[in-house]
């Protein structure tokens, strides 16, 4: 039995697809390799060495130390800000998407189709297009240049809601909820004890999506925040990069590169650790039985 499966899998191998996948792999990994290699160089050897191989003194340790301490350790502050935005923004978005998706999938109420249309419509509108109107609205509320200006818009994730909706529709059997109710569990108890565990893969998927979106968010904080003390890492690194482009500025390309490497590490870790849930979550959303 096992042997047949193996042979079947073997027969299915396509050289073309393998080559394409390999090309894709190289395409995605080369920038990462470049980042890792160049984070080990001093500013001087960045300029006079081949980009894709190590050269000069191995100064990764010194670069990391410099990155964390440059300009009174502002990088650490930016890291803390990013974590705050991710925790409250992406965390909140996940909670809201889970609650909303579950309610829309499992309860029949008037206006459900209307909500569906609005959500699908909202998925199609890129966040960038809404940034300026959002800015003007927040300015009226006096919330610009505060962390709320980044956190509140991040709380809403139409795509996350849609994902949770389709996921909840399939992952939570109505019979199970029925049984829980018959046994005397209240709605909240049914949701927390019975449904949330079933929804876990979907929740992790949405959490990852919103986390990546918030972690990498550039445009929204760019127009909302002016005070570098509230910058997330994306804006901070850009500010460092811009130092090279002004009279009297100090170019710190090596710190920008090392800082970028440090910035992507938490995301990489999150992906690797949550990979299992993430895959099953994606698949479950796409298959109907």
């Amino acid at each position: 039995m096992a042997a047949t499966t193996a042979r079947k899998a073997h027969r299915r191998r396509s050289p073309l697809l393998t080559a394409l996948t390999a090309a894709m792999l190289v395409y995605s990994l080369v920038p990462l390799l470049w980042l890792v290699v160049n984070a080990t160089k001093t500013q001087a050897s960045l300029f006079d060495s081949f980009g894709l191989w190590f050269s000069g003194d191995f100064s990764l340790g010194a670069n990391i130390a410099d990155t964390l301490t440059y300009d009174d350790g502002v990088f650490v502050r930016w890291l803390r800000n990013t974590l705050l935005y991710v925790l409250l923004g992406a965390g909140g978005a996940t909670v809201l998407a889970t609650l909303g998706g579950y309610a829309l999938a499992k309860f029949d109420f008037p206006g459900r189709r209307g909500v569906f249309a609005v959500v699908i419509g909202a998925v199609a509108v890129p966040g960038t297009a809404l940034a300026v109107p959002t800015f003007l609205m927040f300015a009226k509320l006096g919330l610009t240049d505060t962390p709320w200006a980044v956190i509140i818009p991040s709380l809403v994730s139409p795509f996350g809601l849609y994902l949770m909706w389709t996921f909840a529709a399939q992952a939570v059997p109505g019979e199970l909820m029925e049984a829980a109710r018959v046994d005397g569990a209240g709605e909240l108890r049914t949701f927390l004890r019975i449904c949330v565990p079933l929804l876990a893969p979907g929740i992790v998927t949405v959490a990852l999506f919103t986390m990546v979106a918030t972690w990498n968010n550039y445009f929204l904080p760019l127009i909302m925040l002016k005070d570098p003390d509230w910058y997330p890492l994306t804006l901070g690194l850009n500010a460092w990069n811009d130092q090279a482009a002004t009279a009297g500025g100090q170019p710190v390309f090596h710190l920008v590169i090392t800082g970028s490497l440090l910035t992507i590490l938490p995301l990489l870790a999150a992906f690797l650790l949550l990979q299992r849930y993430w895959q099953s979550g994606l698949a479950a959303g796409g298959v109907k039985d």
């Binding site: 009279a247 500025g249 100090q250």
Partner: protein, 446 residues
Amino acid sequence: MFANRRALLRTAALATAVATAAALAACGTDDNDGATTPVTADQVQSALEAGGSITVWAWEPTLKQVVTSFQAKYPKVKVNLVNAGTGNDQYTALQNAIAAGSGVPDVAQIEYYALPQFALGKSLTDLSSLGAGALDGTFTPGPWSSVKVAGGTFGLPMDSGPMALFYNKEVFDKHQLAVPTTWEEYVAAARKLHAADPKAYITNDTGDAGFTTSLIWQAGGKPFSVDGTKVKLDLADQGSTTFAGTWQQLISDKLVAPVGSWSDGWYKGLGDGTIATLVIGAWMPANLESGVPAGKGKWRVAPMPQWTAGGTAAAENGGSSLAIPKAGAHNALAYGFLKYATAGDGVKIRIDNGAFPATNAELKSEAFLNKEFPYFGGQKANEVFAQSAADVVKGWSYLPFQVYANSVFNDTVGKAYVSGTSLADGLKAWQEAAAKYGKDQGFTVD
């Protein structure tokens, strides 16, 4: 000029934001451009002593020390110095804040090329009402005329960028090149250098609005003239044509390195001798010292090459002013800071940290002129810069929508660097794009 390549690349994304904000500003503000109540010097002084807090948006690095010493002198004043972005990024933020009517800083750094846009957009306080008239004669003519827009004074000059020729003497000696005194000699040197060493270029250029306008300025061109809401554009005038004719040779024969200014490749080329000269503002030494340590002792400074042999014409390149946005609520205090930073004790602090002054007193002082630069092999480089500041061609003005115009420079003139389009055609296309925008903004353009 300080506006960098990445900022330009991002302009596409930001354009939406600016356009929306500008449109909103146009229909949203109630025109309160009536005269601000005049404030006397005494009132400024007492505001400084009474204290308070002001927000300053600036990216200029030496202002940090200025703020520290300012707060030491006026302990009751708290200055909140915010780097809200470099160049274009900050202008977008400022437009947005002005349009939204909240979060507008009390003081903003604005480059000379961008000042008319904010001044004519009625976003800035006319400093004449705060006593800026008393500063006549304090600043060098170039920057002082740059902050005067439509009869008002809308900023105080913070620094200036009289241009000079920076050249790598080691490369020049190696290939027995003479330091060019005219642009003709400059082109000849470019050919000789590139023939001797195919990796080496006389300079880099991928199309830079600040550089191009400065060279047209030096050539005596006056492509932009503004009279109220009437704007005249002529990028085919004598000066523009002279510039385009000469520079076209460098582009056509591939004698300029295809490296964008301010990029890592640029810093690299300045260090390893593959970019042999820069014709750039006098603020450049600080950047060379911090960004190109490998060039120490190799670089020298000479006057700008001339369009006519024996001439002494010069132009300004870059430089910023400090301005007071209208929406700010602390005019007297803000003006106190402006004066301190641009004409008071702040000037010396900034020079000591590598900035190039815009004040006559400093530019004429012996200590300043006699300063020997180890980076330039002990040369008294400030003598060259100060002479250049005195030789700046008079009568130049920027467009009241230069920020926009510069943002589309690469889409128009930039084509001359990457395709068969000629520089003259590129300038023509630039003029058309700028004129169209000007008309859309309600200017009469011809």
